[in-house]
Amino acid sequence: MALVGQGALILALLLALWAIAAGLAAATGRDARLMRSAALALWGILGLVAVAVAIFVHAIVTHDFSFQVVASSTSRSLPWGYLITSAWASQAGSLLLWVSILIVFSLLALRATRQGLAEIRPWLIAILGAILAFFLLLLVVPASPFATQVAPPDGNGLNPALQNPYMATHPPALYLGYVGLAIPFALAMASMLAGRVDARWVVASRRWTLVAWGFLGVGMLLGSHWAYQEIGWGGFWAWDPVENAALMPWLVATAFLHSVIVQEKKGMLKVWNIALIAGAFALSIFGTFLTRSGILSSVHAFVESDIGWYFIVALILVCGGSTLLIVWRLPLLRADQRIESVASREATFLFNNLLLVGMAFAVLWGVVFPLLTEAVGRVRETVSSPFYEFFAIAFGIPLLLLMGIGPLIAWRRASLAQLRRSFLWPLVAGLVAGAAMLALGLGSSWAGAATGSVCAFTAVTIISEFVRGTRARHSLGDERWPTAFARMIGKNRRRYGGYVVHLGIIVFVIGAIGSSAYESRAQGLLERGQTLAIGDATLTFRGVEEAEGPNYTQRAAVLDATLGGEPIGTLAPARRAYTREQTTSNEVAIHTTLSGGDLFVILDGIRGDGAVQIKAFYKPLVTLIWLSGLIFVLGVVLCVWPDARERRRILRRYAEEPLSGEAGP
């Protein structure tokens, strides 16, 4: 069976190479037959990858430990659900997931070129073929899921940290994001190659970018929630290379989503947009690479790793190729218009882009810093949280501010009198919020107080946008308030969807600031009956309880908790010993209060005489972080929802100007 799987992947690789060759030949020789053949090659890849996935999953489910990957990441005692999620716990398995998603996305993207983009199709197939070929090559040579061995009686088991329901959602969401960014990249490059520099590729790729970006965002948040609940050190984001890996493309894609609006509305920033999407894709490859290896820990790890060089070559090809392409097409990419005023919406978009890219660059700098210092012959050095937090604050606060300023400023230019009127109430709100925070003694963290006021300013702006829009519609016709509200959003989905996402970001920032800048913590060794106080909460140790799980034994410290003098029940942080995996894991206990804060308790150790080492945090407002995810998703869905009006307009434009091959296969 392993042989069939490996063979299917090799055939898929050959098909991908054929798709490149036939796509290029079709594009240069203008031959529709070759293009159809190349497109069919993609369908063939779909079939072959499906065969490979089926064999791989079958091996996992039937405990076929002659597959090296199966033996190294599962065991007979592993619960059924985690057998499935273990499919992407291994390097080979996750690359297989990458390819599976990519081939499905590729075929969908190909469909999306039917209106007004048919001429880029052969180029598109060639580029998608190249990306597919790269990942299939990885699967065939250095990271095969079908490497075999003499089957051991049982597998090594799955890392307990990965035995968590989040494994079913977090990695796939991230992969959908990483892979999704390949599509706008391919659309952009194919359009450049075909000499189509109009905004059609932007329209076609916008939704892809939004979806990919949405998945990346949700994936990161799920990962944070997982880390928060499962890893249990009391935080949700550690600026770890693997987390940063997803953050970088997300930041650049955020910049892209904003700057394409400027291209669509004003015909500006064309080169910048292509550079951004190429950058976002390059970072998504870089991110995949980071996630899949501990490579950045040192130059040695890198040189010795199997897949390092493959990724370096891929990154060079993506960056170099897109740069060459932009330079080649530069004469066609002239801007139609120019920015007229600093006080214009296009200018705020530009500043937002500079900040987002600056932030992504700072993160990238931090991630590669160990390698850089080593490369220049110094002792390897590393940066940690303070470095990243500085830039998150230094670039993040202006970004939040722009989020509030942007919607109030009109395109082209805004007059001073208008600005004064628009900004009065948001400014008042910001100042009042700042003063209130200082009065409540929250000035202990200046960054917290500053961010709080900016959040108030921006939130008021956004809410006033909804109010003004509804009022305008209401006063125009005889619509009732709810109808006016719904119609306003319905007619301008992208704008108001964007505002909803902005609200989500604000909620996230408030949660992040509240739970980090204003957390209280305490720790201590508790004997039976002793009490630990954290803020206005207390924990009283009652005793240790033991329990047996399917593949572990557990010892929990039972603690009676009170908050503000009122009992709020028992909390039982625990340590689990996994028998097969021979590791322990920390099970934190969390109590969420009505005000959205968490009492977060970790059992650090149990002494021989039964005393327990307890660490506890009180994290105000932390629930807002998870709530922001729901708002974010709502906003993204609003933006992504098909816009019939835009579709009609594009249909009309291309009906007037029939392009070649529009009726293609």
Partner: protein, 148 residues
């Protein structure tokens, strides 16, 4: 195509120079923030193997990497966790005293990374910085989801 007849002729020109200046200033301030911070904030610490750390880093904050050879006590101990790490290549060792969370995967034989200050050849670990590195049997795990 850039100017429409409705605009007064000199106005966009002036505005244009203005916006270029502001954008240039914005870029400069972002780069400046970055350059100044990375140059002066001194946020980086050296990452050292055990043999390297033994060569004159006494009294400095470092990040130490090595393999655990013996360990006594745990986080529940008043004296904290005491363990010894050995260099990956040589036989040199450094003793570590540490309080704070001990990762699930910590045990003798594991590769660990820990921040702290080297004092008289003993590393006083910074609380909650102990991280275990990729045990080879799990490809996926590593420092990835632990606090860095």
């Amino acid at each position: 195509m850039s100017e429409s007849p409705a605009a007064t002729p000199e106005e966009p020109k002036r505005g244009l120079r203005h916006i270029r200046l502001v954008v240039a200033l914005a870029v400069a301030s972002i780069l400046g923030t970055f350059a100044v911070y990375t140059a002066f904030a001194d946020t980086s610490i050296p990452v050292l193997g055990v043999a390297q750390a033994a060569t004159g880093y006494d009294g400095e904050d470092i990040r130490l990497e090595g393999r655990v050879t013996e360990a006594t006590g745990d986080a529940a101990d008043p004296q904290g966790l005491r363990f010894t790490v050995r260099d990956f290549e040589t036989q040199e060792t450094i003793r570590v005293v540490y309080t704070g969370s001990v990762p699930d995967a910590f045990r003798v034989g594991r590769e660990v990374v820990i921040d702290g200050r080297l004092e008289n050849g003993v590393l006083a670990g910074t609380p909650d910085t102990l991280v275990t590195k990729c045990p080879s049997k799990y490809e996926e795990q590593g420092t990835s989801t632990d606090p860095a």
